[in-house]
């Protein structure tokens, strides 16, 4: 169960991106993901309605991600229903 993966939405503080990434947020997101998860798979990178990405993480990886510099929030994915 500890290794079970779920999708999380990771909100990043764009202003905290290290200079070496230039303007390439995607690379920064990728590097952040790899730093907590070797097998984590990024689903989407977002840049218009939020700065961040969604990825498949274990609960521990999600906790580690939330503790990282530049990470504002790590929200578990939710399922919405049509009305």
């Amino acid at each position: 169960a500890a290794e079970e993966r779920a999708t999380y939405i990771v909100h990043m503080a764009k202003s905290a991106m290290p200079a070496e990434y230039g303007d390439d947020h995607g690379e920064w997101y990728g590097a952040s993901l790899r730093s907590v998860s070797g097998a984590g798979k990024m689903l989407y990178a977002y840049d218009t309605v939020l700065h961040g990405f969604s990825a498949r993480l274990t609960a521990r990886e999600a906790r580690d991600m939330a503790a990282m510099d530049g990470v504002l929030a790590v929200n578990p994915e939710a399922r919405y229903e049509l009305h």
């Binding site: 779920a6 999708t7 939405i9 909100h11 503080a13 764009k14 202003s15 905290a16 798979k41 689903l43 989407y44 977002y46 840049d47 218009t48 309605v49 939020l50 700065h51 969604s54 498949r56 504002l72 929030a73 929200n75 994915e77 939710a78 399922r79 919405y80 229903e81 049509l82 009305h83």
Partner: protein, 664 residues
Amino acid sequence: TTRTPEFLGIAGNDGLFPQSGTAGDVVVGVLDTGVWPESRSYDDAGLGEVPSWWKGECMAGTGFNSSACNRKLVGARFFNRGYEAAMGPMDTTRESRSPRDDDGHGTHTSSTAAGAAVSGASLLGFASGTARGMAPRARVAVYKVCWLGGCFSSDILAGMDAAVADGCGVLSLSLGGGAADYARDSVAIGAFAAMEQNVLVSCSAGNAGPGTSTLSNVAPWITTVGAGTLDRDFPAYVSLGNGKNYTGVSLYAGKALPSTPLPIVYAANASNSTAGNLCMPGTLTPEKVAGKIVVCDRGVSARVQKGFVVRDAGGAGMVLSNTATNGEELVADAHLLPAAGVGAKEGAAIKAYVASDPSPTATIVVAGTQVDVRPSPVVAAFSSRGPNMLTPEILKPDIIAPGVNILAAWTGKAGPTGIAADTRRVAFNIISGTSMSCPHVSGLAALLRSAHPEWSPAAVRSALMTTAYSTYAGAGDANPLLDAATGAPATPFDYGAGHVDPASAVDPGLVYDLGTADYVDFLCALNYTSTMIAAVARSKSYGCTEGKAYSVYNLNYPSFAVAYSTASSQAAESSGAAATTVTHRRTLTNVGAAGTYKVSAAAMPGVAVAVEPTELAFTSAGEKKSYTVSFTAKSQPSGTAGFGRLVWSDGKHSVASPIAFTWT
């Protein structure tokens, strides 16, 4: 849709909403189950070239070519990664990995918002007429984020990200989730950024009514839409062997039942299940229902599924009875067997007859489409209700719009009931839900944005709210809108500011405007940390000022909700205070000609309302004037609620706001 343009007073009123040049060219982005591009609702005859600022795309995929788009359907994208990561690879025999709508819901909502006019539309002859969207000249872009297994937030955010980047002016989301805090609600987070980028986001309020505090999508930067009925019905008559007749609703279009009455049985007495009354799959005993009319109760399973269960068990027809929760609401379904939905009272009477007569008989006569039904609108029983459980000081829903028995375009992949066994294929379908009322408002918002490109999303929402009506035409305050769940007068917790009235909204006189900084102040008033604010507002540049007094009551919202605390009022009064006063501050922006507005305010007994100043004189468009309104009341028992109304008028415009009071 058919009938709603007439009901809303916008049929043939294109002059009401002059499209002001290409700035008036609005794209409505619909995040839903995709689109059936072959529908005539996406004809683009008469539409000009796609505006040069538009960045949308027509994504090819299974069964969907990139050539499927045109000057009406200007964009089609699909987002499936979250869905397939969570649920595993989709079953491509049932779902299309493309923008194609396998369900019907997305075609229905997008054509409701901005579908082209299609003459001769109907569902098997019902609700016939010219079907057209609320904004028939607006463009549509669809973002398929909902799949047979649901709508996953990582896909929804990807859809919203694309829709805003593509250049949509309005986003329409007929979906909702649990009432998560704004900082954990992906729709609220996406909508905040959309609002910040001048996009109006319209969402369904939810179908969890009539229970209180059942709303979805209550963020103040979202337009939250409840559902009401139209002045159209599809009556069916249930004639019993005792000579009594009961009126229900039906969309059955097949062979009529014989005029000679048939035996009628209550499902609970024709089943080996303790829940047999619900006509769930596998619970009816065929030999007890064969050739008979079966009375089923609503609940648990889908209404349309009950019709199949009765048919498959050999029943000749069905009477589907509301429960007390649905009250007298008559939602029509395109059942495959002769069927009538009846209100709770009628259902009880029919069941009483069946129980009392040794050989009960009945027949069902379907009477077709009836218009000019009164009273209408009535708040739909299913429409979710306030008070707002996340922020009681913000009154939600904002408004109601047509959401019951709405005809609009449909998919060619599923039948009108959506049940796999339904092999019929229809171009238009009639369905109900706040999913249907939301795109009505999305389309009306597009009309307003087209007529007033300079208006912010908040100004558009304000215009729709302050011109909404909450009493029946010409009846004054004596005749408030009714609630289908109770048959009694509804309240602002049910309809918000009232039922949308687009013909008035185009010239509201004054608006309550709001921008990003106002919403950030609102989050500060909720004691959000800077990190939470950054997560919602996508930037750490927003923050709260140490020592500044923030109040939710200062959010410049077009309605008022005063949430008293019984305990603190009692504490204040026990230490000598005469009563408790809550003060709201508001700023009105003039969007019309010069004028002097005078205020009138009324509130429930025991609450004193004081407005300062009582007169606002505007000399030019864009001019802003502020006022405060104080509500003073002695403590009331927890659970007490009451209402009032505050109106600014210059004799031509009525800028009306509902007031809701609660004690908890």
